[in-house]
């Protein structure tokens, strides 16, 4: 609706302005109109002279000057002033019908008239120029409004621009115009380069009208307006494309998550049943050997379910179906909860915890980072000699907090330092210690998805030391 109305207003206004500005027709009409005005003024003065003193009646010539200069500008105004002065002198100042002026008072009257006429011409011409400029600006503003409406509501930018080239061309006094996007603007005549802050957007190819139109200030304004709006439209198109892509991605992520959830439920249930069944024998009267067998069922089903958990986590990580929450966490809580999870509340003395009292809060996903620490501790306990302690440290380090797990096991060879973080890869010193080679890969994946990093510290005197670095602010621990 708005666009149609705007269009109508533009169309109604255009012919009058175009007629005024058309350089070919206006010279002849201006000449005729100015001559007619001088003639009419002469008749008026002749009609009035019997009753009005002739030197005062000359002021009516100013009407002709005013008319010519306000319609045709300063030069026509001056020409009319001159011819009015000549006509006044010729017809009315004694001796009449000559261009001779006798008395000094007549000279004075003529000079006063000429001066007044020149000033009047100038004032009227300025007023006319101001009106023209205002009209042009209003037209440009209407063009901008229409462009913005079309670009903001268009489904396809190229379709929207197809009709706008002519619109812009007519505003500038040309006949037709074509907007071409994505070309480096050529500096040819009749081509208006469209640039936004020096970045080429395209060009407006004009035909018809004054070939120098491209250099006018109005053309510059229209070009800037067009460039800005096209850039806006392109940005809008890009956003729409991204939104469509994001929606598709989200759907597939949701699907993967749902699938993995179902699979993990199916894999876990039998193990939980085995564990619960073994638990049912808790009160049975068993001898030591039987008790050992029962404990093995319990322990191994627990190990199996942790392995399945790891496998599922890995597939979730690779599928991008394990989004990390961004919470504020107390790193001390994190390690305490990890130890509690590992020993399920039983008293233990193998993990020696040492907490920096001033450790700041860190940023990340609590449950996922707890898995990282649990995985590291499980590894450390597994590879350390029986009864040997494992050290768990929380160290504040500026914008970061390090959670350090070190053991007294065989350590990691230099060749394995990065390899051990790959899935299904185990270090060469793992010996007979069982494992699937998933724990560290998952730990690193989880650490990174929370914005942290997991590294192997340079080897010291035996054992391995892993450092989980977490951001205490928005800083990047990998930087």
């Amino acid at each position: 609706m708005a666009a149609t109305r705007t269009n109508g207003r533009l169309a109604a206004k255009r012919p009058a302005l175009a007629r005024l500005r058309d350089p070919r027709s206006s010279r002849i009409t201006a000449l005729l109109v100015s001559a007619a005005l001088v003639g009419a003024s002469t008749l008026l003065v002749a009609a009035l002279t019997p009753s009005v003193p002739v030197r005062s009646a000359g002021v009516f010539y100013l009407l002709a000057v005013l008319g010519a200069s306000s319609v045709y500008g300063l030069w026509w105004g001056l020409a009319t002033s001159l011819s009015s002065a000549v006509a006044f002198n010729f017809f009315f100042l004694p001796p009449e019908h000559t261009l001779v002026v006798n008395s000094s008072s007549d000279w004075l009257a003529l000079a006063a008239f000429a001066a007044t006429a020149i000033v009047t011409s100038d004032l009227a011409a300025r007023e006319r120029a101001g009106r023209d400029e205002a009209a042009r600006r209003a037209e440009e503003a209407l063009l901008g409004e229409r462009l913005a409406t079309v670009i903001a509501t268009a489904q396809n930018l190229d379709d929207a621009l197809a009709g706008l080239g002519d619109q812009a061309a007519r505003t500038l006094g040309a006949d037709t115009g074509v907007i071409v996007r994505g070309v480096s603007p050529s500096r040819a005549a009749g081509v208006l380069p469209l640039e936004l802050n020096g970045r080429p957007i395209g060009e407006l190819r004009l035909s018809g009208g004054d070939p120098a139109i491209g250099a006018s200030p109005a053309a510059g304004r229209v070009a800037r307006q067009l460039a800005g709006l096209i850039a806006l439209g392109e940005e809008r198109e890009r956003r729409m494309r991204e939104e469509v892509n994001a929606r598709a991605l989200l759907r597939s992520d949701e699907l993967k998550t749902a699938l993995l959830r179902a699979v993990s439920h199916d894999l876990r249930s039998p193990l939980q049943a085995i564990a619960a069944a073994a638990g049912g024998l808790h009160f049975a009267v068993l001898d030591d050997d039987e008790r050992e067998l029962l404990d093995t069922i319990g322990a191994e089903s627990g190990r199996m379910s942790r392995m399945i958990e790891n496998l599922l986590d890995l597939s979730r990580l690779t599928a991008g179906a394990l989004p990390a929450a961004a919470d504020w966490l107390d790193p001390r809580e994190l390690v305490e909860a990890a130890v509690a999870e590992l020993f399920r509340g039983r008293p233990q003395d193998r993990v020696r915890v040492s907490l920096a009292p001033d450790a700041p809060l860190v940023h990340g996903d609590g449950p996922q980072l707890q898995r990282v620490v649990v995985n590291l501790l499980e590894n450390a306990l597994k590879f350390s000699p029986r009864e040997a302690p494992v050290h768990l440290l929380v160290v504040a380090r500026g914008d970061f907090v390090d959670i350090v797990v070190s053991d007294t096991g065989p350590g990691v060879g230099p060749a394995d330092a990065e390899r051990i973080f790959e899935p299904f890869t185990r270090g060469s010193r793992t010996g007979e210690v069982p494992g699937s080679g998933l724990g560290l890969a998952i730990a690193r994946g989880l650490a990174r998805s929370s914005g942290g990093e997991l590294r192997l510290a340079p080897p010291e005197d035996g054992g391995a030391t892993f450092v989980l670095t977490l951001p205490a602010t928005e800083a990047d621990p990998r930087a």
Partner: protein, 234 residues
């Protein structure tokens, strides 16, 4: 209530249901079972249990919803059973009125300890007590004084409020949002930084006074739980 407490075990996996039934029976409880949300509501209505052990994943509805429905008319405690990755579901179920949760796979010892604690609490109501005693920790509500083994420790008003909420719910988990709402107000439910910082200081002070840091358990992704009086150092 006739004789031993009645426990309603809800799990959609028959083998697990059966194993829990046998274990709890051996431990001296009476046991009823249900495999779906609908069966649960019927069973609980026919013979109101003293405790419900509820699996969060049911074929015909989710655990949180069952919790909310049971809570409408049943005062018996509800113990949730769920997998590790279900933290948001746990929070929803706790908000809907569940009393505690266990993460699968769990040991029999853990299960029985939780069952005992919940049943004990529902018998001897703590409401109306002016002084809460949790092991060697004592919280005097009207005087706002905390003592550890008789010695007073100094807490800020916020730390006191935190400890009071935990002690009122001793042995029961409180979600982060519950604590933030109760201690700071409804507008602060998302201000995790506040909670983490004050909880850290409260633990530091309790530790200095001789109460182990893990007496307030961290339930990662869910909330906090002050240990049950039974397991607190006395």
């Amino acid at each position: 209530m006739s004789g031993e407490p009645l426990i309603l075990v809800v799990d959609d996996e028959r083998p697990i249901r059966r194993a829990l039934e046998l274990t709890l029976t051996k431990a001296g409880y009476r046991v009823a079972t249900a495999g779906t949300a609908a069966e649960t509501l019927t069973a609980a209505a026919l013979s109101p249990p003293d405790l419900v052990i509820l699996d969060l994943m049911l074929p015909d509805g989710d655990g949180a919803q069952v919790c909310a429905e049971l809570r409408g008319w049943l005062t018996a405690p509800i113990l949730l059973v769920s997998a590790v990755q279900d933290e948001p579901d746990k929070i929803r179920a706790l908000d809907a009125g569940a009393d505690d949760y266990l993460t699968k796979p769990f040991g029999v010892g853990e299960l029985l300890a939780r069952v005992r604690a919940l049943l004990r609490r529902s018998e001897g109501a703590m409401a109306g007590d002016r002084v809460l005693d949790v092991g060697m920790l004592s919280v005097d509500l009207p005087r706002r004084v905390v003592t550890v083994a008789g010695a007073e420790i100094h807490l800020t008003p916020t730390e006191f409020d935190l400890l009071r909420e935990l002690a009122l719910a001793a042995g029961r988990p409180l979600t982060h949002q519950m604590l933030l709402r109760k201690v700071w107000g409804p507008g602060y439910a998302q201000e995790m930084q506040l909670l983490r910082t004050h909880m850290g200081r409260l633990r530091d002070k309790l530790e200095t006074a001789g109460i182990p840091r893990d007496s307030i358990e961290t339930l990662t992704g869910v909330g906090y739980r002050l240990r049950d009086p039974e397991t607190m150092p006395a």
